[in-house]
């Protein structure tokens, strides 16, 4: 894969100004001159023809656009978003990255993503604030402990750093966890995954947007897709609120709206949409050094660089397109967090929000071509879409450029549902982050 400075320059034809590289010296110079920073990406007019139209301006859509340009030289690309860039799942997730999945297909895939994330800041010349602080999945009963051991073995076979640790080791890593045996759900062990961590999710979106824009990709915000034109089983164009576009290739990179967009192209989806709620507390001094996840208690906790605790839960217990938070979520969440860490009982919640998750029957994504020629999907990301952003972009760009999905996403094709060949990632993805 050839990316970096060289390809940045190569992507800037037509006399377009290369975006200024960010550096410590540049920051210093800018501080002295007090002049404004240039815009990170440009607003360009909507053209009537593009080689590729990507629907959804989140991490998946922007990464696909970036890798199309950087790896395959395809730059006549538009990314459409009905709101603003990174306003959907990319801005609503809890920014946790990990690769300790249950199936070999899943582990391979998410580990590639983690490696791309590790090099993302230098590749995009944008500080994405990736902090590999370690990731811990707690087990409160024999069944989950057994699944964790299983995951640890699958992970090790795939070369992923992951091991099961006992309560004493857990207490050493996170002293504030209640590891005593007289709790309602005593902690029996944990799957410890040192390369996991948290990242600044907005920065990932902005970094990809800036890099894609530098290659000449058009980013269109506030541009809602109202229809997809097909003729003889082929995609021919996209109708939007800003005008019609003719294009041979459409990539559906939406979350929450993936079945509605696919409907426009006449493609049925094995997807149901449910909200997932998250919340954040007031900032306190650093005390939580790893990401802590409990599947039994439906909660995951991490402390951001600013000191806030970020909490996430499992999806709401019924399907909905509503993005309103609920009191019963906040109540349940607070109870579960206190079960784990009684010491935080005096902390106050600052805000809560919800994002939409497109759940699939096997807790794995749907990626690749569909029966409509030129209509590709990168959807069904459930609660684990953000951590897969870079690898999905890379693989979808490969799919579009070469006309067939690369080996790493071959198990995730939409035909697996009609063939009955599901991937079965529920054991590691149902709650855990």
């Amino acid at each position: 894969m050839s990316v970096g400075n060289g390809s940045h320059r190569a992507g800037n034809r037509n006399g377009k100004r290369r975006p200024q590289r960010y550096s410590a010296f540049g920051l210093f110079k800018r501080g002295l001159s007090r002049s404004d920073w240039p815009r990170v990406w440009q607003e360009r007019p909507l053209k009537s023809t593009y080689d590729v139209v990507i629907i959804g301006g989140g991490v998946h859509g922007l990464a696909t656009a970036y890798y199309l340009a950087a790896n395959h030289g395809i730059t006549n690309v538009a990314v459409l978003d009905k709101g603003y860039l990174g306003g959907g799942g990319s801005g609503r997730n809890t920014a946790i990255l990990r690769s300790n999945y249950l199936t070999p297909e899943g582990v391979r895939f998410y580990d590639r993503s983690l490696h791309l994330y590790e090099n993302l800041a230098s590749e995009l010349n944008f500080n994405v604030m990736f902090s590999q602080r370690g990731h811990m999945t707690l087990a409160h009963n024999d069944n989950s402990l057994r699944t964790l051991r299983w995951r640890a073995e699958v992970n090790k076979l795939q070369g992923v750093d992951s091991e099961v640790i006992d309560p004493a080791q857990i207490k050493e890593l996170v002293p504030y966890l209640d590891t005593s045996t007289d709790t309602r759900y005593p902690i029996l062990g944990a799957l410890y995954h040192p390369p996991g961590g948290i990242i600044r999710h907005d920065a990932v979106v902005w970094g990809y947007a800036r890099a894609a824009d530098a290659h000449g990709v058009h980013l269109h915000q506030n541009t809602e897709v109202t229809g997809i034109e097909t003729a003889d089983g082929r995609v021919t164009g996209v109708r939007t609120t800003k005008g019609d576009i003719s294009t041979p290739v459409v990539v559906n990179c939406t979350a929450g709206w993936s079945s509605l967009i696919s409907d426009m192209a006449g493609v049925d989806m094995p997807v149901t949409t449910s909200p997932l709620q998250a919340a954040v507390t007031e900032p306190v001094k650093p005390f939580l050094g790893t990401v802590v996840v409990s599947g039994t208690l439906h909660v995951y906790v991490s402390q951001t660089d600013r000191g806030e605790l970020v909490f996430g839960a499992s999806v709401d217990p019924f399907t909905s397109y509503s993005m309103r938070g609920s009191l019963e979520f906040a109540e349940g969440l607070a109870g579960h967090v206190l079960e784990l860490m009684p010491a935080v009982s005096k902390m106050r919640l600052l805000r809560q929000w919800a994002g939409l998750c497109d759940m699939t029957p096997d807790y794995s994504p749907i990626m690749g071509p569909t029966h409509v020629d030129g209509f590709h999907v990168d959807v069904g990301w459930g609660t684990y879409g953000f951590k897969a952003g870079p690898v999905s972009g890379e693989a979808m760009a490969d799919t579009v450029a070469n006309g067939r999905p690369p080996e790493i996403i071959a198990p995730f094709g939409i035909d697996r549902f009609e063939m009955g060949q599901l991937v079965g990632e529920k054991g590691a993805a149902a709650v855990g982050h």
């Binding site: 709206w257 079945s259 509605l260 049925d268 989806m269 094995p270 997807v271 149901t272 949409t273 217990p317 019924f318 399907t319 909905s320 397109y321 509503s322 609920s326 009191l327 019963e328 029957p361 549902f417 009609e418 063939m419 009955g420």
Partner: protein
């Protein structure tokens, strides 16, 4: 919290119920192909609007009920 109109217990909180999803027509047992069965099992309309759904009143009368619900506003109305 949203409330669901249970025909036996009256309006009750949604937390008493288990969501069983939208009503999908069951294929004919005698003639359905494996592909049709899998479509019935996995594929959903997932509409953004009014949807007919099955719910089970787990913490109440323990009967299946059918509810019409708007998937954005979560308004509900009983259908039977």
């Amino acid at each position: 919290m949203i409330q669901l109109p249970c025909p036996w217990c009256g309006p009750r909180n949604a937390s008493e119920f288990t969501h069983h999803g939208e009503v999908t027509p069951r294929p004919d047992v005698g003639t359905a192909t494996p592909e049709e069965w899998r479509r019935y099992l996995y594929f959903r309309q997932n509409a953004n609007g009014w949807v007919d759904e099955n719910w089970y009143h787990t913490a109440g009368c323990r009967r299946f009920i059918r509810v019409r619900r708007h998937t954005t506003s979560n308004e509900t109305e009983a259908t039977r």
